[in-house]
Symmetry: C2
Subunit: 374 residues, 2 copies
């Protein structure tokens, strides 16, 4: 049920079938290189989050630039990437249920696999699955550093769970998963900084308690595209999990920098190519891109480079543009680019990346782990 | 890149891998039968919208119950369904661009294919594509009956475009596409009724003008799950396009009936099966279903049958439940069902329907046109 690719290499961008998910390769490569260079010599490893791109090709590019492996959010995602050649994955999440644990332990025979825990019963189940396959899994204890989603509270609860992990033969206590997800999209620079400083203090206290209990958190993993500069400054994290930096999205681009202006050191490299399919009124144009080819959970997409034109409403298969003036770019049949509001769930709607440089398609990459939600 | 099915027939529902998209076959079959029976003897045909279910199996079930064919919203969707055996599809939408028109005309050699138009240039392109493949396409002129999306305005603009269509040799003017989409989710019964009455008046005027111009609108197609009772009453529409009625969703179930209470004659038959994957605090449970397995554009999902438990937040792969008391149904590892806020874009996130009856899986159906957005 995979769809036909909307393009072939060599094709002009204007011939690409729409909707299509585009990668501007120049911008993408600059983003990958920037973060790799930024971490050079800091002693902090990069383990980018593959939940953003779900692509083995991109994961291997990131590793070629220095990343130690990637993060996944689901076991099925890890399977898809490992089967396509990625040698080291951390499922930065809990894996719960006998079938899922069996699959994860089986995968650990094919690649280096780590996983996170926040409950002693899950730790016991994980050890049993690992034992059945004769593997030893790296286990990080997830700490709630302010996101109030999964994870145990900082301090003694972490020590207690780490001791449970350490007591099992087929598990290795490898450190902490400490991602402050709610800090990522906080607009003000100072507020993001404050959230990460608070998290850093909680981790420091926890690390001291672990040490006192004779346990070593070899890895402290976390950080995201919106906050990694702050995690770096603290010296607490030694592994960063940024994902969106390869693509960026309209929501991340609204974050404010230290100077108070919106923007990022990373460039938007992910676009949806759309066709104007109806031009029913001067002030209204309809494109063929709606909820089934972009996710609007973090806001509507941004129309690239057309003065006076805004995407103002999405229905299942349609996008409504409000048009000022009579720009030629929105005449019937014209193609235009949109920056999606939120890159991760948008990528998950597509089977192919159409990768271009300048005006030409250079590659068409499968989205290996599209729909890998189990 | 299609995912492994999360179940096999005969499996107990409690063994199904999560997230999984479930169909309660009993409820689904009652929904299909109810609408078929309701239209019996009215002279109004049913052409259900397949953009909801994207399944050839369901389309053929609907046709076995009396539907004359199905609607699609995209050419690629029509292809997927025709290739899987559906003999009659109406693309209830504009198809714009040379590649898309070529594919549509080619498809018309394999099945009965209709399409909608709202622009004379697109009509000319459509005729050229049809001529190249030696086919004659049924063409409906789309009328804007209040949704303000695609479509020409009622009255003379419809006549003018219908005349353009009728002048081409490889096109047949087959009638009007008149869908009042914005009426579907208006909560108050009287307001939905009023919107459809207004649309009906606009169509009546248009039909008189067409007749005066010597043109016959053989088909007047439209109507949806939220409004079809009203379209039926008017006597103006002779073909209904309801889609969501097979599944329903949390948003449609909020519509008010004539007695002022929320609810529908159709039953929810589509669910997402979720696993409680973290239980970090008494008042918080986390399930493994987030934005990548359900669409939140029309609101958050409804948790089925657990007192005091509500789905209050979605991130990419997580759902946050607010928990009152200590219900056993949300203990770690337990599975529960969610009614998605919006069925159509949720279905598009999955590769398989897990169809169950009682406690057992009876069938696993591919979602034939998942991701068919071009």
């Amino acid at each position: 049920m995979s769809q036909l690719p909307p393009a072939v290499p060599g094709m002009s961008l204007s011939d690409v079938e729409t909707p299509a998910l585009l990668i501007d390769l120049d911008a993408f490569e600059r983003n990958v290189a920037y973060l790799a260079t930024r971490l050079n010599g800091t002693g902090v490893r990069l383990r980018p989050h593959a939940k953003t791109h779900k692509s083995a090709i991109i994961a291997l590019r990131q590793m070629a630039a220095g990343a130690v492996g990637v993060c996944c959010q689901k076991g099925a995602e890890a399977e898809a990437l490992v089967y396509a050649g990625v040698p080291d994955v951390l499922v930065s999440n809990q894996v719960v249920g006998p079938r899922k644990l069996t699959r994860l332990a089986a995968l650990a025979r094919q690649a280096r696999v780590g996983v996170c825990v926040d409950h002693p019963r899950n730790v016991a189940d994980l050890d049993a699955a690992a034992r059945a396959f004769g593997v030893r899994l790296d286990v990080l204890v997830e700490v709630n550093v302010g996101m109030d989603r999964c994870g145990v509270e900082p301090g003694e609860p972490v020590v207690a769970l780490a001791q449970v992990v350490a007591a099992y033969h087929n598990l290795r206590f490898a450190g902490l998963q400490a991602y402050q997800g709610s800090a990522q999209h906080v607009r003000r620079y100072e507020d993001r900084l404050a959230a990460i400083d608070t998290a850093a203090e909680q981790i420091k206290v926890t690390l001291r308690l672990l040490e006192r209990a004779g346990l070593t958190a070899e890895t402290v993993s976390g950080g995201g595209t919106g906050s990694f500069e702050f995690e770096l400054q603290t010296g607490v994290w030694n592994e960063l999990q940024c994902g969106s930096y390869v693509f960026m999205d309209a929501d991340y681009l609204k974050n404010l920098r230290a100077d108070g202006a919106p923007g990022s050191i990373f460039e938007p490299s992910l676009f949806i190519l759309a066709t104007v399919m109806s031009r029913p009124a001067p002030e209204r144009a309809i494109v063929d891109v709606g909820l089934k080819s972009l996710s609007v959970d973090s806001g509507l997409p941004h129309v690239v480079g057309i003065e006076g034109v805004a995407y103002v409403g999405a229905s299942d298969e349609h996008g409504k543009l409000a048009v000022q003036g009579a720009p030629a770019e929105v005449e019937l049949g014209r193609k235009l680019r949109l920056i999606p509001g939120h890159c991760d769930p948008t990528v998950n709607l597509h089977d192919w990346y159409v990768c271009y440089r300048g005006d030409y398609v250079e590659a068409v990459w499968p989205i290996t782990a599209r729909g890998a939600v189990t």
